[in-house]
Subunit: 154 residues, 2 copies
């Protein structure tokens, strides 16, 4: 199995996992600090999806750290298949969450003008949280592509 | 280059392209027939994204038909790279469009109760259009995975 930039058990892979975990946690933090977010299904789904993403990335980040410290090789087909499935599922869920919340944010600020009509609504925080969710998705998309490439090139 | 189910220039590939084209067109038809859809950014984006998807799939469907009739082989790395990029871009845009419109539909029908408050809003048509967009995404996701697998296994 080839070793490419960002593959499991390398410094690149660890950096990608750290990025995913940090951005997902920041996205959750901004969302839960916004008042009234729980009244909207899309925003609740964003929190759930980013929570799953943060946990998954944290787990794989720990595994990468262990592999780097112990100089273990994580490039075996069974492990990589598991990473591929997990990465693709979480990447799709993250993109879905970011987009549905993005759609609702744009609706609030532009289409129906809720943000100007109800100043108590934390529109700014909703938007920052959505941007952070998209950043998380960019990192997990990179990981997913690397994993799929590794698996396909066995 | 291996030939897998759904690869370009095969009957499976042609069926996938036909499915994408039909579902994307049906999604556009339901959306544009819903009154007032153009007031909402997410729904306009759905129409644009499904339009792009339908055109891309139609083009590749024609290419598949030509390859099947003339018994041409489309499995060369340059062509497949082009298909991979196009498929991934349109798949991501389709998922984003389906999710953002889905988020807005759920908000209308459940969170803020616009559907019961404004009976003139064509909520049913919005929802059918979103479901069709998700079906389109399922087909294009299958095509994208097959293409990426083909390219990676060269």
């Amino acid at each position: 199995m080839k070793v490419v930039v960002g593959s499991p058990g390398t410094v690149g892979g660890l950096l990608l996992r750290t990025g995913q975990c940090l951005f997902a946690s920041a996205s959750i933090a901004f969302m839960v600090s916004a008042s009234g977010f729980s009244s909207y299904t899309a925003f609740c789904y964003l929190v759930a999806s980013m929570g799953l993403q943060a946990l998954w990335s944290l787990g794989l980040g720990c595994l990468d750290t262990y592999a780097l410290r112990m100089k273990r090789d994580l490039h075996n087909p069974i492990l990589v298949s598991l990473f591929v499935v997990g990465d693709w599922v979480t990447a799709t869920l993250s993109l879905a969450a970011a987009c549905s919340s993005g759609g609702v944010s744009v609706l609030f600020s532009k289409d129906v003008g809720f943000c100007s009509a109800y100043p108590l609504l934390s529109c700014k925080k909703f938007e920052i949280s959505v941007v952070l969710a998209f950043a998380t998705w960019l990192f997990i998309a990179m990981s997913s592509l690397v994993m799929f490439w590794l698996l396909a090139s066995v």
